[in-house]
């Protein structure tokens, strides 16, 4: 199958439950909005190919469950990500405070040079705002990331956010190791540090070779 894109970027959306990660993603991938999205269980993904400075870039965007409890599952998918969007809800103080926890998570589990971006979602709900734009801005400066306020509902800044992140990744990539990135980059397999997983993979492999031998005879 001929490849229809120049680069493949894997992006990840993280943030507290209910901040609108799935809505942001749906707005970007399907250009639709639904007030009653159902909660994401574990992990999900969407694809969209964009045109950036003459290059076709396929964005494979992973959406994660927000609940604290699922972090052990979702962090397994951090490794393959080239860009991470940290989403909070401007009407929810706690989700904003938790951004620093999510950043810590990234530092622990994602690759060192991952592009990060902080997103303050639901900026259409000005009347219920509790986190000012300035605070969001301040936090992003603190962590050296880009910052945007978005509204999935009104389709405000959604495209811009993804394009900006993609452009940053592309820039970094082209400055860095040339064009070797693109394919590969493992999606989270089983927990990296799980010995059973390692055994399991070996098991699979052994089984595979066994099969081959069998056929060869």
């Amino acid at each position: 199958m001929a490849r229809t894109y120049d680069y493949l970027f894997k992006l990840l959306l993280i943030g507290d439950s209910g901040v609108g990660k799935t809505c942001v993603l749906f707005r970007f991938s399907d250009d639709s909005f639904n007030n009653s999205f159902i909660s994401t269980i574990g992990i999900d993904f969407k694809i969209r190919t964009i045109d950036l400075d003459g290059k076709k870039i396929k964005l494979q965007i992973w959406d994660t469950a927000g609940q604290e409890r699922f972090r052990t599952i979702t962090t397994a998918y951090y490794r393959g990500a080239m860009g991470i969007m940290l989403v909070y809800d401007i009407t929810n103080e706690k989700s904003f405070e938790n951004i620093k926890n999510w950043i810590r998570n990234i530092e622990e589990h994602a690759s060192q040079d991952v592009e990060r971006m902080i997103i303050g979602n639901k900026c259409d709900m000005e009347d219920r705002r509790v986190v000012s734009r300035d605070r969001g801005q301040q936090l992003s400066i603190e962590y050296g990331t880009k910052f945007m306020e978005t509204s999935a509902k009104l389709n405000h800044n959604i495209e811009e956010a993804f394009y900006t992140l993609a452009r940053d990744i592309k820039g970094k990539m082209e400055r860095g190791q040339g064009q070797t990135v693109g394919v590969g980059g493992t999606t989270g397999r089983y927990q990296q540090d799980s010995t059973i997983a390692a055994q399991g993979n070996n098991l699979c492999k052994n089984r595979h070779t066994f099969h081959c031998d069998f056929i060869a005879f």
Binding site: I38, F70, T72, S194
Partner: protein, 488 residues
């Protein structure tokens, strides 16, 4: 009167008054006819065909002639068409019993989308008509008023310079029969040289063959429809019989009969909705010995502790309850099951603070609540979550979860090697899809009916069936869509 109904319910395609076009524009030869019919009878029926459809077409025509009115502008047009209704019903009272349009009452049930589609195809024909007009002169044998007002829908076939045209239309006398094919045998337009006898005979023969085929097709469709109806009836009867067996024979002797072949066979075919809750309850059992008293205590505690400690389970529950099956609208704030679901999840979080609330529990609890009363639902929920597979996942025992993933992977490789190889190639690991499927027990990815059906067998066969379903879903999903190829 059919026409009346139709126009009352008619929406977008029905435009402004039809009077003008009805009366002032005589039918001309070559005028595009808007008609729907079943057979060659059409030519005989020509003059009898009418009216509601006619009016619709004519009104559309009128609206086309007034560029200011788009067909989708709503309120004003609706009132206009209502008014028109009254007047044109009087005018059309002569021929409305014609079977040729017998489907109108039927068509009134059609969605506005269909109408819009018809309207647009109508528009195409209209423009066609205008082009053709100059070359047409001979009048057909129909009365001007009625013939003009015939409506045709999507043309599936047309041979402008030939002798016949085939129009497809949706339609008519038997309810449920959606499409039929109408055929007209027409003379060659007078401005063209007449056909030779031979040619005419040949075309007539072709025409008859076409008719024959169309008739056969209709008979076939009708037969299928009847069969579907019969099957449905049979299924309903079977479900009735099954329900009776469940209620009268199996449930009273659950202890001895639940493992019998008869029961298991019946079980495999699905549990009738009537007894589903009961059977599930019995199948899950209550090894935790949860009493009604305990349930009440948990409910009360949940009530008090609006904010429950473990990562604010209560807040999360509050958020998720409204996000459970939003399409059903019964778990949302103000819906009849909102409080029940909230209570059940809260009570469980109090009952098992070590587990608390984990997202996706809302799906499982909601399905149980749909089948049984609050207390049995709580018992079933707690006991279901106490099973090994659920324990591993809801308590996030990573190694155990991994074992399940690996077991499934091997199972997958063994059963569907080619698909497994392809999944490997694009680095699609089972955890990506299994997590959601296992946590929600398919409640999120399958329809409610199918989910219940899967759960039926899950309660019979245990966790193994979850993985079998996953396998079935993999092969089906992959065949149906190439969603996962996006990963490559």
């Amino acid at each position: 009167m059919d026409g009346r109904n139709l126009d009352r319910t008619a929406s977008l395609a029905d435009g402004v008054s039809s009077d003008r076009s009805d009366e002032t524009r005589p039918f001309k030869r070559g005028h595009m006819r808007r008609s729907s019919y079943e057979s060659a009878q059409i030519q005989l029926d020509f003059s009898r065909r009418s009216d509601a459809r006619a009016r619709r077409a004519a009104s559309l025509h009128a609206s086309l002639n007034k560029p200011g009115l788009s067909e989708s502008s709503s309120a004003q047009q609706m009132s206009l068409s209502d008014r028109m209704d009254a007047s044109s019903c009087e005018g059309s009272s002569t021929g409305t019993t014609d079977s040729g349009i017998g489907g109108d009452s039927n068509s009134s049930k059609r969605s506005s989308l269909d109408r819009r589609f018809e309207a647009s195809s109508l528009q195409e024909w209209e423009s066609c008509e205008h082009q053709q007009q100059p070359s047409c002169s001979k009048k057909p044998p129909a009365t001007p008023k009625k013939s003009l007002s015939l409506r045709f829908a999507k043309g599936i076939f047309s041979r402008k310079d030939g002798r016949w045209r085939v129009f497809g239309d949706r339609k008519t006398d038997s309810p449920g029969l959606v499409h039929t094919t109408g055929l007209i045998l027409e003379e060659r337009p007078s401005n063209l040289p007449q056909k030779s006898e031979e040619e005419a005979a040949k075309h007539r023969l072709l025409y008859e063959q076409l008719l024959e085929q169309a008739k056969k097709k209709e008979v076939k469709v009708e037969k299928e429809r009847r069969k579907a109806l019969e099957d449905k009836k049979k299924a309903e009867e079977a479900a009735g019989v099954a329900a009776k067996i469940w209620i009268e024979e199996i449930l009273p002797h659950w202890g001895t009969l639940s493992d019998s072949k008869k029961c298991r066979d019946l079980w495999w075919k699905g549990i009738p909705g009537k007894v589903r809750g009961k059977v599930w309850s019995l199948a899950i059992g209550n090894s935790l010995n949860i009493s009604e008293e305990l349930h009440n205590i948990c409910c009360q505690r949940a009530n008090k502790e609006a904010r429950y400690n473990r990562e604010a389970s209560m807040a999360q529950i509050h958020l998720d309850v409204s996000r459970t099956f939003p399409a059903l609208g019964i778990f949302q704030n103000g819906g009849p099951y909102h409080d029940l679901l909230h209570k059940l999840l809260g009570a469980y979080a109090c009952y098992r603070p070590d587990v608390g609330y984990v997202q996706s529990m809302s799906f499982i609890a909601s399905i149980l609540l749909l089948q049984m009363e609050p207390f049995p639902a709580f018992v079933a929920f707690a006991n279901l979550l106490n099973q090994p597979l659920q324990q591993s996942f809801f308590r996030l025992k990573q190694p155990a979860m991994t074992e399940y993933f690996i077991a499934f992977d091997l199972f997958f490789q063994q059963e569907l090697p080619a698909l497994h190889a392809r999944f490997d190639e694009i680095d699609l690991r089972p955890d990506i899809y299994l997590i959601e499927w296992i946590y929600t027990m398919f409640a999120k990815s399958l329809s409610l009916d199918v989910t219940c059906r899967v759960w039926d067998v899950f309660f019979r066969d245990g966790e193994e069936f979850i993985f079998k379903t996953a396998l079935g879903k993999n092969s089906r999903d992959t065949i149906k869509s190439n969603r996962y190829s996006a990963l490559g």
